[in-house]
Structures are given as structure tokens and as C-alpha cells.
């Protein structure tokens, strides 16, 4: 019997101690609260976004509460996060939706409660479900990647491999389609040797590339959803001894990715600017809190081609500039 007593009280004592420790660290509820809901906490892109938002919030004297999904596709976690932020009295919520249609209801609820909602990085579907979208034009970024690859390959007959991220994702689709457009081919073109799902992860990028190379050894152009996938693809290409003959390109602008461009592993990457999205978002909420003005529509935060081997007719920056402006370190 005494054991049970010990059990119950030990359990609750430790639990309460933890709670008190946490409670002691909390802040007052009077200041302007900006909510940030990112896709996951693991992707350095979103970590950068969060850090930038925190820095900007500190500058402006507002409180930032950041939440994230647990994994790519965690709609439930993001919906819960927005609900909690409404409850917490957030003035504005910046969100990178895991799924472009998964959280329309909760966004509507937030806006009805007078909360400014801005989509960062990823648009909702329909795009006007939120007040405004601050993002990279991912289609345009895809076009930049594809156009570079095509031009840099000259007259060579192309055999293309597509290393996609998570199928069905909005960003994924835009970048994929943009690449094809930039490359000047259509979906289903015979020059496309195949596609693999990488979830934007290096290990899966490597496995996907290995499999595609086994399937078709003539692959000489590789689209990648992001730089980790590209790093995986490079490892696979190297093990097949083909790293010099293949036009490997990517999107993101993470510092590791830019270094890979500098080292010649990736021919070019398209940099996007998460810190710009985040700080613009915080500014917009601060402005809304002060004057009630809301931003609207799609605001392109821009993308830049980063390469040390520029091609004619395409604007680009070198890796020195890239390393100054990259994110993720």
C-alpha cells in the first residue's frame, strides 16, 4: 500500500516541480504577441526563419511565440498551434502551412477573431485564405534552376532525373514544374529518366539517385528539391564516378548548399531568403497592431541564382556573395 502512496506522490511531486519551473519563466500577457508556426523544427530553413523572427521581435519590442509541426505533413500540430496562439491573444500569426488546404478552417477562425494571418514561404490554397503571403516565388525559382541547367549544358542531349521532395506538397509542385519549364521540357518528356522521393533529406536523396542511376546510367542533369537532397545525389554520383559529367542543380541557399556550389559539387543553386520573410512578417504584425493596416496579396521575397560558373543571359551572384547571405549556420 505504501508503495502506491509513494508512487502517486512521487509522480505528482516531480510533475509539479517541472510545472513550477516552467511557470516561473513565463511573461506578462500585456504586450503585442506575434505567433510563428513553422513546418518543423528540424529543417534549418525554418530554424533560420524563427531566429530572424525572434531577432526582429526583440528589436521591435514585441513578444514572439514560435510553434512548429512535428514532421512534414503534421497538419494537426499546426492547427493546434494556431488555436493556442488565438487563445494566447496573438495579434498576428505567421504560418508556413504544411499543407496548403489543411488549415483553412482554423485560419478563418483566426481572422474572424481579428488576428492578422500571413503565410510565409508556402501559399495556402486558395491564396486569399490568408491576409497576405510573403514567400519565394517557387515556380520562378524552379525556372531559374531549370534555365541554368539547360544553358550550362549547351547543346548536349539531356537525360534528366528529378529528385522531388514530398509528393503533393505545394512548394514541391511549383519547383518541379518550374524546373521543367526553365529546362524547356514538359512533364512526361522522354528525356526525363525518372523521379525519386527524397522528403528533402540527404539520405533519401542519395538512395533515390543511386536507384535512378542504376535504372539509367546516361543521366546527365539532376533536379533537386533542396540542397540536402542535392548533397545526397552528389554522393551517389560520386560513387558511380559520374560527378563530373552531371549537371546537378538545387534550390534553397542554405550555407552548406552554397559551400557545395563553391566546392563544385553543385553547379548552381537558387537562394531564397527566409529571414526576409520572417522579419517582413513581424513588421507587418507590428504595423497592424499600431495602425490596423493589413498587408495583402503575394509579396515575392525574391530568389537569386548562386553559381561560380555564370552563363550568359542569366543573372547570378557568386558564392562569395552567397556565403554572406546564406542561412543555416
Amino acid at each position: 500500500m505504501s508503495l502506491h502512496r509513494i508512487r502517486a506522490s512521487a509522480y505528482s511531486a516531480v510533475g509539479l516541480a517541472l510545472g513550477l519551473a516552467l511557470g516561473a519563466g513565463s511573461a506578462s500577457a500585456q504586450e503585442v504577441i506575434v505567433g510563428l508556426v513553422t513546418k518543423t523544427e528540424v529543417n534549418p530553413f525554418f530554424v533560420k526563419m524563427r531566429q530572424a523572427a525572434e531577432a526582429r521581435a526583440a528589436e521591435k519590442g514585441v513578444k514572439l511565440i514560435a510553434r512548429a509541426g512535428k514532421f512534414d505533413g503534421d497538419n494537426e500540430g499546426q492547427v493546434a498551434a494556431i488555436e493556442d496562439l488565438i487563445s494566447a491573444g496573438a495579434k498576428g500569426i505567421l504560418v508556413t502551412p504544411n499543407n496548403s488546404s489543411g488549415m483553412l478552417d482554423v485560419i478563418k477562425k483566426a481572422r474572424e477573431a481579428g488576428v492578422l494571418v500571413i503565410a510565409l514561404d508556402t501559399a495556402t490554397d486558395p491564396a486569399d485564405a490568408v491576409d497576405a503571403t510573403f514567400a519565394t516565388d517557387n515556380f520562378e525559382a524552379g525556372v531559374q534552376q531549370g534555365a541554368y541547367a539547360r544553358k550550362a549544358m549547351g547543346d548536349k542531349q539531356a537525360v534528366v532525373a528529378m529528385l522531388d521532395g514530398t509528393p503533393g506538397g505545394t512548394v514541391d509542385t511549383f519547383r518541379h514544374d518550374g524546373y521543367l519549364k526553365g529546362f524547356g521540357i514538359a512533364e512526361g518528356d522522354p528525356s526525363i529518366a525518372g523521379a525519386a522521393i527524397t522528403n528533402g533529406a540527404q539520405d533519401k536523396g542519395q538512395v533515390g539517385m543511386e536507384n535512378l542511376l542504376s535504372k539509367n546510367g546516361d543521366i546527365n542533369a539532376v533536379y533537386t528539391i533542396n540542397e540536402p537532397a542535392a548533397a545526397g545525389a552528389y554522393a551517389a554520383l560520386k560513387s558511380f564516378g559520374k560527378e563530373a559529367d552531371v549537371m546537378l542543380t538545387s534550390i534553397d541557399g542554405g550555407c552548406a548548399g552554397v559551400r557545395d556550389v563553391k566546392d563544385g559539387k553543385i553547379a548552381a543553386t537558387v537562394m531564397q531568403f527566409p529571414y526576409k520573410m520572417a522579419s517582413m512578417g513581424v513588421d507587418a504584425v507590428v504595423e497592424y497592431a499600431a495602425s490596423g493596416t493589413k498587408p495583402s496579396g503575394f509579396v515575392n521575397t525574391g530568389s537569386f541564382l548562386i553559381t561560380d560558373k555564370p552563363v550568359e543571359g542569366l543573372e547570378s551572384k557568386d558564392t562569395a556573395w552567397g556565403l554572406e547571405n546564406c542561412w543555416g549556420d
Binding site: 512521487a10 509522480y11 513550477l20 516552467l22 511557470g23 511565440i65 497538419n75 498551434a81 493556442d84
Partner: protein
Amino acid sequence: MNTATVSDAETPRSLTARILGTPSVGPLLVLLGFCVIFALTNPRFLATHNLSIILQQTVIIGVLAIGQTLVILTAGIDLAVGAICVLGTIVAGKLVNLGYDPVLSMGFAILLCTAAGLAAGGLVSGLRLPPFIVTLGILGILTAALRLISEGGAFPVRDPFLAWMGNTMKLGGFVLTYGVLIMFTLYAIVWYLLNQTKWGRHVYAIGNNAEAARLVGIPVRRHLLSVYVLAGLIYGIAAWLALGRIPNADPNAMQSANLDSITAVVIGGTSLFGGRGGLIGTLIGALIVGVLRNGLTLAGIDPLWQDLVTGILVIIAVALDQMSRRRS
């Protein structure tokens, strides 16, 4: 025969011993403690609107954790909870979007989830494979199959019947979704089954000592099968609840549902070794996780602390369970 000495032979069990001996008391105190702390840090925490949101957020994991509790009580573990539930959302959503009757579509989807439970139970009880491996296999199969069915992507499901669970009603000052009421109803039903019927008592007996259960004539394999089938049915109902909460079928959703539901069960005081614990603890466990996440956000604290605190609670709960098992 002299029966007068019976009561003398017994050491009576005191009321406090009974209360403290109930495994869900520790978790309940933790839950209440957190509520008090969060209420003190931010008065908004206790707003009826906020409390009702916490309940809504608890619904899916809360219901999945019912099935998980049943399986864990038999000394098993279910890694396919999320995948089976997603199966339900995708199949129901797909069928409705193809123009089939929503009631039949949802019914068929729930049936399919039940069948997935049957498959798991059949492999565990019939072939005597370890539940960990069986459900891991089902998780893999379903994850792949669902991505294939849905062609990889999520799709919106806009049907009033499928979204029915998201409708709200007022109860006092409380806005409750039907989903919340269904969750409590399911808890009540399964609690009754576990605590007031032979079926439930045999679930405990099997988890406690399967050999002893067999020796007293309990049809252990058939009983195990029934547990997995019921769990599958519950996951199917959870799929309907999920569509009520987010009208979206996503093959990538619920990847953390396995661990989240196991967390709720374990924090709730149910032993991973089977045969000990109960459903009330699981409900409290699920609420602790929901309250922590919500309360920390309201307090303006990084919600990563939620994972940390939850992790500590899990370890404490398992350590206490291990201690009490070793002592006995």
C-alpha cells in the same frame, strides 16, 4: 464449517490506501497541478473557449489512445494506430470525392480500419508474432499503400457528413464539438467493458499472465483477436473525428500518432508490460499532453519544453511501474 472468522482473517484496506492505490491518481494530480500553474501564469488559460480548445485538440490522440491502451494492456504495442486512422480518412475522403454516398463511404472506411485491426490481431494471435513487429509491418504497408492511393498528395474533403464531428454545440458556457462528446462516450463505453465485464477482466488477465489465463480456460488467442479488432474499430472512428477536425485527407499526417498515443497511455500509468493500468489514466495522460502544449504557448514559453516535460513524465511513469513490478 466455521465462517465467523472470515472477517478476522482480513486486513481491511483503508480508504486512503484505496485512493492512492488507484493508478490514475498520480497523473490526475499532475494534470490539476499544471492547470493551476497555467491558470496563475495566464488567466486566459481558464477561459471556457481555451479549455474547449484543449479538449478538441485532445480528441484524435485521445481516441487513438483508447485502442492503444487496450493493446498495451494485453502486453502488446500498436505502432499502426496513426496509419490505420489515416487509412480511414483517405478511403472515406477518396470515396466521397468520387461521388459515393458519404454515410456508406465513412462506414466502409471504418470497416476497413477494423479489418486492419483484424489483420494485426490475426498475425499476433494466430501466428504468435510479436505485436511490435506486426504493427510495424502494417505501418509500413499502409504508409506506402496510402501514398499510392492518394497519389502522394493531400486532398481536401468537403462533405458535411464527414465533417459532422466538427460541428459544435453549447453546453453551459462551453462550446463542444460532437467529436469531444464522442470521445467521452467512447471512453465511457470502453471503460465499462474493461472494468465491468468479463471481457475486460480477461484483457487484464491475459496481459498479466497469459499462461495463467490459458490455464483457467480463457480462449487467449480469440480474446487477443477481439482486442485488436476493437482497437481497429476505434481507430476508424478516430478517422471520422479527424476529418471533423481537419477536412483534409493527408497520407503524410499522423506520423507521430504512435508515439503520442503511447505517451498518453504511459503517462496515464498503464504498464507497458501489460495487465496494469486503465483507461481513466490514459484520458488524463492525453489531457496532460494537451494542457502542457496549450499552457506553454499561452505562457509564452517555447513549446519544445512540452516535449521535454512529456519525456520526463514518461520516464518517471515507466520507472515507477518498473519499481512496483520489481517489488511484487
